[in-house]
Symmetry: C2
């Protein structure tokens, strides 16, 4: 069976890749350059894909116009610090990001005869993005079932989101047990000088808390 | 109210644009270069967008890898002739095309504060593509409702598909009544020398039958 991994370069998608690898899948990777400020994650994703052993790893570009209202993309908006835990959807929200990523992944999967798509979406220790929740993943699966040839002919491409309801600490423990090289992952939205985690954005805070609760040392935060 | 029109350059999407215009919407256009062999439709779409009066018209490129199993894209596959009416989904099917187009449109709409997306999908006189059917449009709307900030906050972007259940002849009549300049539209999948309709692909046949039944002359087929 062939699996396409949406690999951002973060811990969650890397753990997904290793879960699929443990199942003996033939692995394909897909990473997006969507003009994110934290471009370093793309470099990390490429090296990670090599280390994990992807048969192919596609890197696609999404034009800045598509996501330009997000503070992760728009240079005139600041990535917020210490905002984690507020009830609101933060400015780092990227409009329809997982929707766009999953759609393109589905098209490639159908084009290339790939059976399932792994996405590291997580709705427990997360920033409140709507497209990381189970109800979104379910409704996207329905889109695939109704809108693609494989869906209609009875063997729909399957969206696999194994981390949806896991705590960050569990994901980190799982990563460790699967041999993940955490130094090849990246979480920070707002790297200092391009390659030093800021320690203050939502993503840094979630990562830091996760490692702390898992009682594992983060090689990026010694 | 602002509307984003998925404008392919064909009759259906052009009629959608005119429907939105008649409603007094502020019009935005989105056209894709997905390495389709019938690139002439992009040129037509650009001119049409100008004539209709789009406030902005985005042209985005989808890399060939995404849709490369379709005979509309892959140069080693021939666009079939005279296959219209068979029960099977034809080789011109582009994996997840409307899914990808609608996802990117949704992201742009959320980014730009646009309220609705018009798509010319049609499930009556059509080639049998699964992503042109009402059940797909419904499930996509659900994805938007669950997966985007606007969906979650109560004012989801609306997918408008006014032609879903119309016959081609009705669409052509509607186009005429709305003043559509049919010479600026394009349907053929397999143009001869790049700019002459082949007359034999599914799309030419559907167009020809539609004009004939509407008792209207097609300026591209005199």
């Amino acid at each position: 069976m062939k699996s396409l991994i949406l690999l951002s370069g973060g811990i969650d998608s890397a753990v997904c890749a290793l879960i699929a690898k443990r199942k003996g899948r033939e692995l394909y990777g897909l990473t997006f350059n969507y003009s994110q400020k934290h471009k370093i994650e793309i470099k990390k994703a490429k090296r990670l894909g090599k280390e994990i052993g992807f048969k192919k790893h596609w890197l696609l570009k999404i034009p800045p116009i598509v996501f330009n209202s997000s503070s992760l993309v728009n240079k005139s908006l600041k990535v917020p610090k210490n905002s984690f835990g507020s009830e609101k959807i933060p400015s780092t929200y990227v409009p329809g990001r997982n929707l766009v990523f999953l759609c393109i992944a589905s098209a490639i999967a159908e084009t290339e005869g790939i059976d399932e798509i792994y996405i590291g979406a997580n709705s427990i220790d997360f920033s409140g993005y709507p497209d990381c929740r189970p109800e979104f993943i379910r409704s996207f699966q329905k889109c695939i079932n109704t809108g693609t040839k494989r869906g209609v002919e009875g063997t729909p491409i399957k969206i696999v989101a194994p981390l949806l309801k896991k705590r960050k600490k569990e994901i980190i423990k799982l990563g460790k047990s699967l041999g993940l090289n955490f130094s090849l992952t990246w979480s920070c939205y707002n790297p200092i000088n391009g390659d030093l985690p800021c320690g203050k954005c939502d993503s840094c805070i979630i990562r830091k808390n996760g490692f702390k609760m898992a009682k594992i040392e983060d090689p990026l935060n010694k």
